[in-house]
């Protein structure tokens, strides 16, 4: 990947087991990416915090991280506080950016994550949500290559922005692509594209009526936080069973106003134990609570102490 993204903060992690302890023969990073691995008592479990200097990313930042998880390693990836994406560095307003191709736009913030997981290994990607500030443009692409028998909990979530400052879905663009391969076969590609500057619909001349301008907020409301959770492999089956049990009990009667938290789960085709869970909540805190409860079963897999570091 290193030749793809220029001027990037690179990171590289290799995690393996050494007499029941997780060790990191490789744990390297360059500015503005920072990786920290606190010592954990839990056998076979390693924890790495992904951070950026200043706790945020500005327009034009490029981060790429490559992770290699070897046999039987249970790696927990966390962040410290939400990933804040600030607006474009040059102070150019998103609406007047001339290039239609934000991917090549030097002011777009990009994150790239590539993970391969060996059989018996597991990744628990449990970061805080991404929060894009007004006019910010953010792209992320995450690829996970699992061997048969590997496990993964992949959380990808984002919020509506700095609500304390009245920002509600006021960013320029949010793009997130997650792709999961199991044994070399693509089982899921989940791509979300949220464009703040929706073009007004035109009729190409001779327009008879003007449809009201619609904002991203119109499309996302009343929810302020959206999460996608991908679950794979033997180590997540306890969590999956519990969620299935909960889903069986849901019976939606016509409601008068929207529920505070909405969630649902689907199977991933061609991968018996694979699931995708989607959650939306009016408050980020409610979504966090939901996730923390839903994944509680991971305590048996990574230990209570490590689990308590996620969703703080």
């Amino acid at each position: 990947m290193s030749n793809i993204i220029q001027d990037a903060g690179h990171g590289k992690i290799t995690a393996q087991i050494h007499s029941d302890q997780v060790v990191f023969p490789v744990l390297a990073y360059t500015y503005p990416l920072k990786l920290l691995s606190p010592r954990m008592q839990q056998e076979r479990v390693g924890v790495v915090y992904m951070m950026t200097y200043g706790g945020g990313l500005v327009g034009g930042d490029r981060i790429s991280l490559t992770i290699n998880i070897e046999h039987d390693v249970r790696l927990v990836l966390l962040s410290q506080g939400s990933t804040k994406v600030f607006k474009t560095r040059l102070g150019t307003r998103a609406a007047i950016r001339s290039t239609p191709n934000t991917a090549n736009d030097p002011t777009t913030t990009m994150q790239r994550l590539d993970v391969s997981i060996a059989a018996g290994g597991a990744l628990f990607l449990l970061p805080d949500p991404v929060t894009c500030f007004r006019d910010a443009a953010y792209h992320q692409a995450q690829t996970f290559r699992l061997a048969h028998g590997a496990s993964a909990v992949l959380l990808d979530w984002y919020t509506s922005g700095r609500r304390a400052r009245g920002e509600e879905w006021a960013f320029a663009e949010y793009y997130s692509a997650n792709e999961v391969f199991v044994g070399g076969v693509r089982t899921a590609r989940d791509v979300v594209l949220l464009n703040g500057a929706l073009p007004p619909p035109g009729d190409g001349g001779g327009q008879l009526l003007l449809l009201p301008r619609r904002t991203l907020a119109d499309r996302m409301r009343p929810y302020a936080c959206y999460a996608t959770l991908l679950l794979y492999g033997p180590l997540v089956q306890g969590v999956v069973r519990e969620l299935e049990e909960r889903m069986r009990k849901i019976s939606v009667f016509r409601v008068g106003e929207p529920l505070d938290v909405l969630w649902s789960m689907s199977g991933v085709h061609g991968e018996a134990g694979g699931r995708v869970v989607r959650v939306a909540g009016k408050e980020t805190e409610e979504v966090k609570m939901w996730l923390c409860t839903a994944l509680r079963g991971l305590v048996d897999v990574i230990g209570a102490e490590v689990y308590s570091k996620a969703f703080v």
């Binding site: 793809i4 993204i5 239609p100 191709n101 934000t102 991917a103 990009m110 994150q111 790239r112 692409a141 663009e173 793009y175 692509a177 792709e179 693509r186 089982t187 899921a188 590609r189 989940d190 791509v191 979300v192 594209l193 949220l194 464009n195 073009p199 619909p201 035109g202 009729d203 190409g204 008879l208 009526l209 003007l210 449809l211 009201p212 301008r213 619609r214 119109d218 499309r219 996302m220 959206y226 889903m247 849901i250 019976s251 939606v252 009667f253 016509r254 409601v255 106003e257 929207p258 529920l259 909405l262 969630w263 649902s264 789960m265 689907s266 991933v268 085709h269 995708v276 989607r278 939306a280």
Partner: protein
């Protein structure tokens, strides 16, 4: 009347047995969850514009207050909001697959792709990628059911019946090569559809690599290509039928009157389709590339979901206590 116009008339018949009448594309779930955005737009300009659309006019009083407790004019604008989100995300996430499948079918029918297996392998790739992108059991179920129905429709309803082929006098050699060419195109197209249909049927149980699932956008592309429509026409009609399906579901749910539905279809849907088609015309499914796709640089070119809420609502369809649609 040219051939394409005539085909459009035939294909836009709401009586076509495509199974679309059991699909609401998430509309029913949205209504049950009270997530029609019935609140009036907040900005001044938007409010003014709403006034000028006339889509929520008083001419249609047949609905009165529907089961959702919203008045008919509110209901018109709520369903318009739903339609905009639905058209936008469907165009962005599904049309690239329809266009790619259409192109492959056209190329095979015209003998630009000579080998049947090459065409089928390409279609299987497009189908498999669409499946990997459709992480929603309700949408996946509806998509496969309607896709297979389209293949059956072509095989049983759109191929030329033998008695029409045989009763005509034999075409003198070399006199009408254009007609001959058209027959050759048709016979290659129907061979492709028949082979695809077989693989879809096999794929329902089997696990082989070249078995297909028969997703709706892929099968639509194949059908439109087999009939000889242009790619742009095919995409336009597919999106039109998607929008009309939503409106038809709204009428049957009794949240929109039949006149209001026509008003929306005639006046509001048209510019929405134009916009959605032009903004997605350059997209490709990405299934046919040889080299690895770098997703971080492909935001402008690849399919994507643009309405995450619609996705959750659609997934929750099966949780509704009472429902009249399958999706």
């Amino acid at each position: 009347m040219d051939k394409e116009t005539y085909l459009l008339l035939v294909l836009s018949d709401s009586n076509l047995p495509t199974g679309s009448f059991v699909a609401s594309a998430g509309l029913e779930s949205t209504a049950t969850h009270a997530l029609f955005h019935a609140t009036p737009p907040t900005t001044g300009s938007a409010a003014t514009a709403t006034g000028t659309t006339g889509t929520g006019s008083n001419t249609d009083t047949s609905t009165g207050t529907g089961p959702t407790g919203i008045s008919s004019s509110t209901s018109s604008s709520s369903i318009l909001a739903f339609l905009r989100n639905s058209i936008d995300t469907y165009a962005r996430s599904a049309l690239p697959f329809a266009r790619d499948a259409h192109r492959i079918t056209t190329a095979y029918a015209k003998n630009d792709i000579a080998d049947l297996d090459v065409a089928l392998a390409a279609l299987a790739k497009i189908d498999a990628l669409y499946d990997a992108c459709t992480l929603n059991h309700v949408a996946r179920r509806a998509s496969c059911a309607q896709g297979v129905a389209l293949l059956s429709l072509y095989a049983r309803g759109f191929t030329c019946p033998p008695f029409l082929l045989s009763t005509g006098t034999t075409i003198p050699q070399g006199v009408d090569s254009e007609q001959e060419q058209e027959r050759d195109r048709e016979s290659r197209a129907s061979a492709l559809v028949a082979a695809l249909k077989l693989r879809v049927r096999r794929g329902a149980g089997g696990e082989s690599d070249d078995d297909a699932l028969g997703h709706l956008p892929v099968c639509w592309g194949v059908l439109a290509g087999a009939l000889g429509l242009s790619v742009d026409r095919g995409a336009h009609l597919h999106l039109f039928l998607h929008a009309r399906g939503v409106l038809s579901a709204a009428v049957r749910m009794n949240i929109l009157g039949p006149y209001a539905a026509q008003q929306l279809l005639l006046h509001a849907v048209k510019p929405l389709l134009t916009e959605a088609l032009s903004s997605t015309a350059h997209l490709v499914s990405g299934a046919l590339r040889e080299e690895e796709v770098h997703l971080e640089f492909e935001a402008e070119r690849l399919p994507a979901t643009t309405w995450p809420l619609g996705e959750i609502l659609s997934m929750r369809h099966d949780l509704l206590h009472s429902r009249i649609f399958n999706s």
